[in-house]
């Protein structure tokens, strides 16, 4: 158990929905969610497929612990070939949607083809149908959810949808569920939009059973205690959210600032956790209203915030005045430090727009950063952008957020991401990306392991594939020196493999601040048939990583794509503890290939593949 053992296959070209049994032999090898859905995907889809063609598929997948009382057991992932990257994409989201899909009786939903006209998928347990979405097309995520709840006459229905960004071809569009949780990166929402699929509405009334109820409750309770007793998951994250990192990373000299020109942001104090908790002069309230949990989560790192009603961005716009999703560290960095903007309310407004119209604030913010550098270099002009856009301009940031959401003017160019923008204007080296995806909030010069993490991530630059910040900054599970390259190849490999398991189980990666595989294993073993030992899980993680790698190699990626932009390799950090350092990626890469059992070109050797059963 754990699995519902049912897969829903939706052919959007034909308009059909069919149920098929989950391949349990594969479930034993790939567990669920990221691993299992990626296995389905690579078996069914040509690696060379154009991401936005009908031949690409998109899978929404839960894990065996999704919908159970395991802490954070509410996750689902979206697996496809990424619109932004052309690499394998797997974007993971919390909220309540994933658990509801499981309660409706589905381990995963596979979307194929392309609908002739806009549709949405309605799921009520095993009653499944594609419905006309003409009235939803052109609507925001927030409007779409409201309209669907009203028309279904069911406030308990859960919705994931794309906003106008996903319809307009913004290449980093998200799929947003529960108003402000998102399968955020790599453009999974763009792929959904290309299929004319606007939303999925789901209501589930079935239950999720586990193999050994008593054993499971005991294992889950023990694991929850580990989270509660840990300083990061028990105190830091619920109190400050991921924003707890802003001042820490800035002090380390690893906060990429102004398109990675600098590694420390003088305005960091104005956009971090402390700032969100400070009472504003205008209304006497702090921006942060409360923390919030996703389904089943006993950490509750989520931020619920209220914007300052007197801020220039929302004057006369009461629709933005209510409490809604607040700034997480990545968004605050990308919208703030990455383009030098130190106006917390402007960042919150841009964040709301990202949620409302469904696009990734990391890629968007970083692309604005690149545009601002092009503007400062005189390559982009005021006439081209439609405004002056120097680093630090909150006016430009908020206006450009609206234009990107609506797909108008220069917003159309920003919607294509930093790589295409910088290439178009003849300065490709200014794009801070790997495999076409923008960096998140850690500078590869100040935290060396993150450079290797970005370069080798299967979905393009990403912190969530091997969060070595845990070790290099927080000392979890052991403290390593962030400024050196020694030992980072093994560290990154270990994090990548373990993360692949957590992403396939149905739980949140944030548990790994406190949990190791040894905390996850008893929960999985009690929930699922098949005897889930530590050895089996460790091998599973490595198998998933190599499977994703093989897809990317077949898609045309090579060792050349496991690299960082020249800025990080040639322009030393100007200030802070990493002053004078560049990224040692060229030293770490071959060490990493070796640790992985890959050849000098980054191709898994025959022995490695055989060992993993690939």
């Amino acid at each position: 158990m754990g699995w519902t053992r049912k897969v829903l296959r939706v052919d959007l070209s034909k308009g059909t929905c069919t149920s098929e049994p989950l391949n349990m032999a594969l479930a034993q090898q790939y567990l669920g969610q990221r691993g299992l859905a990626t296995k389905y995907f690579v078996d069914e889809v040509d690696p060379k497929v154009e991401p936005l063609s009908p031949a690409n598929k998109l899978i929404m997948a839960t894990g065996p612990l999704t919908g159970t009382s395991a802490s954070t057991g509410g996750r689902y992932s979206v697996i496809t070939k990424g619109a932004l990257t052309g690499a394998i994409a797997c974007s993971n989201s919390g909220g309540y949607f994933g658990a509801e899909l499981k309660f409706a009786g589905w381990d995963m939903v596979i979307f194929e083809g392309r609908s002739e006209k806009p549709v949405y998928l309605s799921i009520e347990d095993d009653q499944v149908e594609l419905r006309d979405a003409a009235h939803l097309w052109g609507k925001t995520v927030w409007q779409t959810e409201e309209i669907i709840k009203k028309s279904h006459q069911d406030p308990q229905v859960r919705v994931c949808s794309i906003g106008r960004a996903g319809e307009n071809g913004v290449l980093y569009a998200c799929i947003v569920n529960d108003l402000h949780r998102a399968a955020g990166r790599s453009g999974v929402g763009t792929v959904m939009g290309s299929k004319n699929l606007k939303a999925v509405a789901v209501r589930g009334t079935g239950g999720v059973a586990v193999r050994d109820g008593k054993g499971f409750m005991k294992a889950a309770a023990a694991a929850k205690k580990v989270l509660a007793d840990n300083a990061v998951t028990g105190q830091g994250l619920p109190t400050y959210g991921t924003q707890v990192l802003m001042s820490v990373i800035n002090e380390m000299g690893a906060l990429p600032t102004r398109n990675h020109r600098d590694v420390q942001f003088e305005g960091a104090g104005k956009i971090g956790a402390e700032a969100m908790r400070q009472k504003r002069p205008s209304d006497g309230h702090a921006q942060l209203v409360t923390n919030a949990a996703c389904f089943g989560c006993t950490i509750a790192c989520g931020r619920i915030a209220k914007i300052d009603e007197t801020h220039f961005s929302v004057v006369n716009k009461p629709e933005y005045w209510g409490a809604s999703g607040g700034l997480e560290y990545e968004a605050a960095w990308a919208l703030g430090a990455a383009n030098g903007v130190g106006d917390l309310e402007a960042l919150q407004y841009a964040n709301l727009i990202c949620n409302e119209d469904g696009y990734d604030p990391i890629s968007f913010g970083a692309t604005v950063g690149a545009a601002m550098e092009l503007f400062e270099l005189g390559i982009l002009t005021e006439a081209q952008i439609g405004m002056t856009a120097p680093f630090g301009s909150a006016q430009a940031l908020t206006k450009l957020a609206e234009m990107t959401a609506q797909g108008v003017g220069f917003g159309k160019e920003l919607g294509l991401g930093s790589k295409r923008l910088c290439a178009k204007y003849g300065r490709p080296e200014l794009s801070m990306t790997v495999k076409g995806q923008e960096f998140p909030a850690y500078d590869a010069r100040g935290i060396q392991g993150m450079g290797l993490t970005y370069a080798t991530s299967n979905r393009g630059a990403c912190h969530l594939r091997s969060y070595t910040v845990a070790s290099e900054v927080l000392g979890i599970p052991i403290k390593t020196d962030p400024l050196v390259t020694e030992g980072k190849a093994e560290l990154v490999k270990a994090f990548q493999d373990a993360t692949s398991v957590f992403d396939s189980a149905g739980v949140c990666i944030f548990t790994t601040f406190a949990w190791t595989l040894a905390d996850l294993q008893p929960q999985l073993d009690a929930a699922c048939e098949g005897g889930w030992s530590m050895e089996k899980l460790a091998e599973l993680g490595e198998r998933i990583w190599n499977m994703e790698r093989q897809f990317n190699l077949a898609a045309g990626f090579t060792a050349k794509d496991d690299d960082l932009p020249p800025r990080l390799k040639t322009e030393p950090a100007k200030t802070g503890p990493a002053k004078g350092l560049v990224s040692g990626i060229d030293k770490m890469r071959p060490e990493y290939y070796q640790a992985r059992g890959w050849d000098g070109q980054g191709v898994p050797t025959r022995e490695t593949l055989a060992r993993l059963g690939l």
Binding site: S69, Y96, F103, L179, G207, V289, G296, A300, A323
Partner: protein, 158 residues
């Protein structure tokens, strides 16, 4: 000592561990659509509020039942639905002013909170203490303590 479920919405994060614990205790599966406690999300106010039966002393549901299927558990004070007697007429769901007795189409009976026989699973599962099971006569004790702490706190000249 009689105990009551006591709810402090300010501590609720909306994780739904209570709903999962309730359904697991009563049906052996995780199924929040069968939970007898529900968490309501007032999105734009940023509030999450768990809500369930308060076990009224003079219980409307009990008095309304034509077949005496709702009985008092003398140990806990809970008003308990006896499924064998319940005929699914739903009169109790009309009588209850708070909406905490609900019909279950699958079984043809009603369900409501029964305090799990004196060890409510929701309270045990709540990670933040938003749901607790405490002395019925003193559910206000924490609030009193809070306010008490604010009185007479001015520094005094000795």
């Amino acid at each position: 000592m009689q105990k009551s479920l006591h709810i402090d919405p300010n501590k609720c994060t909306g994780c739904l561990q209570c709903e999962m614990a309730c359904s697991f205790e009563n049906y052996g599966v995780f199924n929040i659509s069968r939970s007898r406690i529900k968490v309501f999300n007032f999105e734009h106010a940023g509030r999450k509020v768990p809500y369930t039966c308060t076990q009224c002393a003079e219980a409307w549901c009990l008095h309304a039942c034509p077949v005496e299927a709702i009985k008092v558990d003398l140990a806990t004070g809970a008003k308990v639905v006896h499924e064998a007697s319940c005929v699914g007429c739903k009169v109790c769901t009309i009588a209850c002013p708070f909406g905490t007795v609900n019909y279950v189409a699958e079984t043809g009976k009603v369900q409501k909170c029964d305090l799990c026989g004196g060890d409510p699973a929701c309270a045990t599962a709540c990670p933040t203490g938003a749901i607790s099971y405490i002395d019925s006569d003193w559910t206000g004790l924490d609030k009193m303590r809070q306010w008490a702490g604010k009185t007479d706190s001015q520094p005094r000249a000795s």
